[in-house]
Symmetry: C5
Subunit: 360 residues, 5 copies
């Protein structure tokens, strides 16, 4: 069963731990997995070892090897795992808190010995037509990257493939390049989301043109909200990556800096697209509202035309329905015919008037 | 009896003292307590003493002890207390004025010997469904923190617990960490408020979808105003904390700086959420307005349909209600039946027309 | 007779002197006084002399005395007075022009030997329900402050009292503190104006809720315009005061700098309040518009209900008003009763339908 | 015949020369004059010579004299004139291009040996009720100023007077002061334009209050567009003048810097006023729209009241117009009187109901 | 057959390659050409050689010659061509990726040995009334410029002419001037687009005034979207060119810097115009909406007038259509005449009332 992240408000999550001493490890997200899944990939240009371990301690020896190590943790509800890892890798308690407290906005912090990066990974849940969000925390140290995810399933599969098959540069480069690749994969996945939203917008616009209903309005507003939430994930990313670039940390080599510049460009592109989408969505709202008022106009016009034609006619008919004794017209031989003529003339005048005012 | 802070406008408070010499001590808020309540906690890693005193002088010896001292004042209407304290701790008269003048926006000032911090503590009054606001002023000196509150009841209870039970780091750290903890508690309490508002927004949205009334509109506007007021408390906080971090005051240790960075992140998160809420609330306004106009449309359509069907029919009936002597149809054997046929045909044409235009 | 400042547009004033050589002394405001009134207060900690003089030359000897001198000029239409003063105190011709040309925005200029400050003093004219504006120019030199006002009546009376009665610090401090006090008095007076506006807003909101008329709309717009004009006076003030603080002029002592910081805080508070008020006023506009459209809805509903109930009934009555010879129902014993039954059934169906759609 | 500048869009002008090598001299504005008019004023404190020349070469000897020379060119369609001048005074080809290409935004460029300034001179064409725009280019060199205008007629007449009559400082100062005077004259002329717009706004507001028509709306939008266009001329001016002030060019003396500061203040004032006007104009739009919907409301109310009163009455009359044989009321002695009573009661109930709902 | 670029969303293009290793060469745009077309121009002040080659290797010897070489590639789908070129000219893999991945936003990157520039070339497709977009990538090295385009046809024809005919400066200057010329040509072509849009806006405004239909609304929204898309191309350009100017690359001479300043001014002008257009387009939306509601008003008024005049008349006629036995008026000699009088009086009162309220 899938979970709609949108429902769990950051504020709600946060208030669970209000008042506790800072650095207290409490997992504030939903428990999404039965068991925490720990796996690692350890590689250099020649060698590669890869394993799913049941015990976090198995990963500890890798910390000091010269090879690049990528430890991935899926599931955050077993606090002891995070705690042990934190102690072994000398992570600051606030870092551990941020990892568990899965409503962080994307950010980057430099702790000299390691860099701490928080990202928000998005995926599109086709079934519920909703965007799902998940916090990914990365710790980049000398020769190792540790990634923390809330649940199984991520956008890193192709990176694992590249490492396994020694495709591209990845096996020749250090942990910083691995870390860059992970960030890049997350940013790249945003384009998939944007594509979905773009399709939705196109679909909605066609619907707006053909048949706008009150439901359309609700969908526009849902879209608008998705944009608000997307923005919250995307904007801080820009800061994050430019922060990484500007940081003078020795952990990031100059070669990787060039790649980060590329990711930065992608981020800007994502932001640009999100902003354009926002503009389009508010344009859709305008169209909706004016098409509604256009419809109302059309309805009103029909009423007006029918009513204004027949009301005078009915009045005329009413006159000759009166029972006065002395109504000479009633006796006329062609009175009835003349009345029909009057009906025709009045109706014709009305129709011509409406034609002239372009209402007909 | 609870007081609705929203009603006391800052401008109103301020004008009470317009024209007085700066540094004049006048309490401009409401008197919310019978007697001022003074209490202190004095601690280091091993020892702890805690007392509620009736006379402010009892606290003065603590100023010079090497232990960390937290003096808390609840109630600001006894000016002599503040005055004596100010003299003893060498506080600038303007500081004392700001403490008493409880409509300050959050700010931070560095007076070398001590730092002065103003915060706005929010709490949610469930009964009146309103957010209550209270100014908390903090003075951080070498080994002491003095906190000033307008009334009894605060968000610091858990900090007192932690000090008493030596939970977390707090007993091992200095006055700067205590001061950080107080700020953090205030920021954390904002999440509780945001959660309440989030619930309100959700509730309102459901109501909007099911049954929007004029009262809903007023509630939306009340919410909007609460956001305006919340923003005023939250935005300056960001500046305050980044100011604290950037200050080169010797009163704040580097360790505490890292914790402040964490609080800064929380503040950004609060601001982000407030801004998203604002966007949502204005979205609600749009929905309200368009649902109102949709309703109007529905009403108009019914009128149009009924009127445009029956007006021509009534006209036809009117024709044969005329009293002309020579109206051959009246004499026809099946005249009446034919008229019914005409009625049916006109009505059918109308209904088909409406169906085609999708109004029915 | 009071003058409504709002009417004299800056542009209008300015264009009076377009094309004249810069530094030409022409008074471009309205002449508001019969005679220019000149007075001075000269004081140090022990002594005080105070006089209203008829001749500006009487003030000149005070320029070189070590005591603090405050020369106040009410009325700007006697150009020779300003000219003589300017020559004696070596003021730049552009300064004199700015003093006379009373549509300056608040600003601060540093001329080394003296500082030039322009403020806008606001007062509330209860009779016309309008905010009145007046330019106050200050020149702060070594040991003297000269203030220029357009007319008699200002917010400095309490400062004069403090000097006379040696209240507060003012007699012990220099001319810079006096100058600060004048600025602070102007900023403080803004709070009184804000309070009045706050009351108006509250009053308007109540009226909006109970009985919104077209006049209400005009009052909202008047309020909106007052906000626009208030903003123009208040925003530059912030720059002005932060400019004063940042200036490295030897004329402002460090002690006074702390006081200016306090005034800066007040300015920010004024700006915050103005911005909140703006938000509230546009909120009111929304409420007005939607309450108008709600009313329209209510009117429409009544029309619809009455019309849609009676139009079909009238049609039925019309049928049996026809004069066909062969209308069997007319002959039925209970025809008339049955028609009444039909009336009742149609009406009942309609009412039930409206109830179900919640229009009744 | 006057030309309405608004019609010639910058884009249109520019595209005329798209693709030509940069620095190609082509005049892209309209040819507004028969012959180019060249004149100069050459002066120092004692001497003054002034002449209208037919041949640009006559001005060349003035370049090296120590006196201040002001060469003014009216009309830009004779490219050779500009070309010769450019060669003699060693102006960069791009400068010449910018002079001819009269759709530049206001800007300032420092070429060491001379400064290049582009301004937009506005004038109000009372006949067409439109603002006319013209590019004025200034070149300030050591001892000379060259000004280029598109046609005869400018705001510099009073400066010429001052030079001729040795009024003010101008004859005692250098070319930089002359250049400042020209800029100041242009900025001052904006106030005249703003005054005209201010009058228009006031006139429009009165019209809005008394009798808003569709034409009013179009006028509001025309005003709005004028603001958009005015803004485009005014905003870059601020940058221009602050650029001039900050430039460390030796061509501008410190004395003139103080005067530029004054002009800068005026520019800010112009910008402030333009922004306030923009706010007012959008306020007017709101008033217009709501007054339109208020009117609609009034119309609807009358319809509703008349219709809802008479529709039931007509129904009652219809009942007794039916031809049933057995309608006992018809035979009653006071039947007709009772029906009138029923009419009166129904009408009264309706009127009371409308009164109670405040629709009458 | 022309392709409407607008349809291929950046997001869509990008997602094609999500997850691939960075630097992987995949062309993500549409294949727009059968064969890639490669051509070069090689020149210095005296000599010129120009050729269309079928094999990219033919261009390689030109890299080291002292003459300026301009290699132009039309069509990007043959990856080997780009790949070979990249290797020969030592371009970074990410550059090649950006060239092929044709949804880059305009940007500039400095790789010391060469500069990489991405532009978006716009052209107006008269047939489909749509703006077409194409990515142009430039590589500026020591003595060479390589340009990459998606398809045949560009705005550079006049530059080729100038080189061939040695018009202007171009043959005397280096590769940096050539590169500047290409950028300038792209920026200049924007003015042509703006002119087209300006014409459209003018056309739309006239249509709005004369006959606004629902189609007009859709066209306004199309225009609005074109502005959104245009903005996305234009804004980053500003950054790009100012980046080029500020870069301290030895590849750009000081002379060319002055020309870039000129291009920068043009860019600002383009941005200004785009922003003005945006303002105008939203103004048009306002006009549309209010003209729609004005029309509705007009329709409503006619209905109201006709209905309110005839409804009471019909009621009166209804009264005398009643069949009461004792209705004395029916027997009166002039009853019928009096009823006509009553009709006339009621109608007259109504008409006068409507006249007074200015509805007629």
């Amino acid at each position: 069963m899938k979970v709609n992240m949108k429902k769990t408000k950051p504020a709600q999550k946060h208030s669970k731990k209000a008042g506790l001493p800072p650095g207290t490890l409490i997992h504030v997200g939903e428990k999404r997995l039965e068991a925490v899944r720990i796996s690692y990939i350890d590689y250099d240009e020649q060698n590669l070892s890869q394993k799913q371990v049941s015990n976090i301690e198995e990963c500890f020896p890798l910390k000091t090897t010269p090879t690049v190590t990528w430890i991935n943790i899926d599931g955050l509800h077993e606090i002891e795992v995070i705690d042990k890892l934190g102690k072994q890798f000398e992570l600051h308690p606030l870092i551990l808190e941020d990892i568990l407290h899965t409503s962080q906005r994307p950010k980057f912090e430099d702790f000299e010995k390691y860099l701490f990066i928080v990202l928000r990974m998005l995926s599109y849940d086709g079934e519920n037509q909703a965007i799902e969000e998940e916090q990914v925390s990365l710790v980049l140290g000398e020769n190792f990257v540790i990634s923390f995810q809330e649940r199984i399933g991520d956008v890193f599969e192709q990176i694992r493939d590249r490492i396994r098959n020694a495709k591209g540069r990845i096996r020749k480069m250090g942990a910083d390049y691995l870390c860059y690749s992970l960030i890049d994969a997350v940013v790249d996945s945003y384009f998939t989301i944007l594509e979905k939203i773009g399709e939705k917008i196109e679909f909605m616009e066609e619907k707006l043109a053909s048949d706008p209903t009150e439901k359309t309005l609700q969908q526009i507003h849902k879209l608008k909200r998705e944009m608000i939430s997307l923005r919250k994930s995307v904007w801080p990313l820009r800061e994050l990556i430019s922060g990484l670039q500007r940081s003078e940390s020795s952990l990031i080599s100059e070669t990787t800096d060039i790649y980060l510049r590329d990711t930065y460009d992608h981020t800007i592109q994502v932001i640009d697209t999100v902003e354009s989408f926002r503009d389009m969505v508010s344009g859709m709202l305008d169209i909706y509202l004016s098409s509604i008022s256009n419809r109302m106009n059309a309805v009103m016009k029909v009423l007006t035309i029918i009513a204004t034609i027949f009301i005078p006619l009915t009045f005329v008919a009413g006159i000759y329905g009166m029972n006065f004794e002395y109504m000479p017209e009633l006796k006329w031989r062609f009175g009835y015919g003349i009345v029909w003529l009057i009906f025709a003339v009045i109706a014709a005048i009305m129709v011509i008037y409406f034609r002239r005012r372009k209402w007909l």
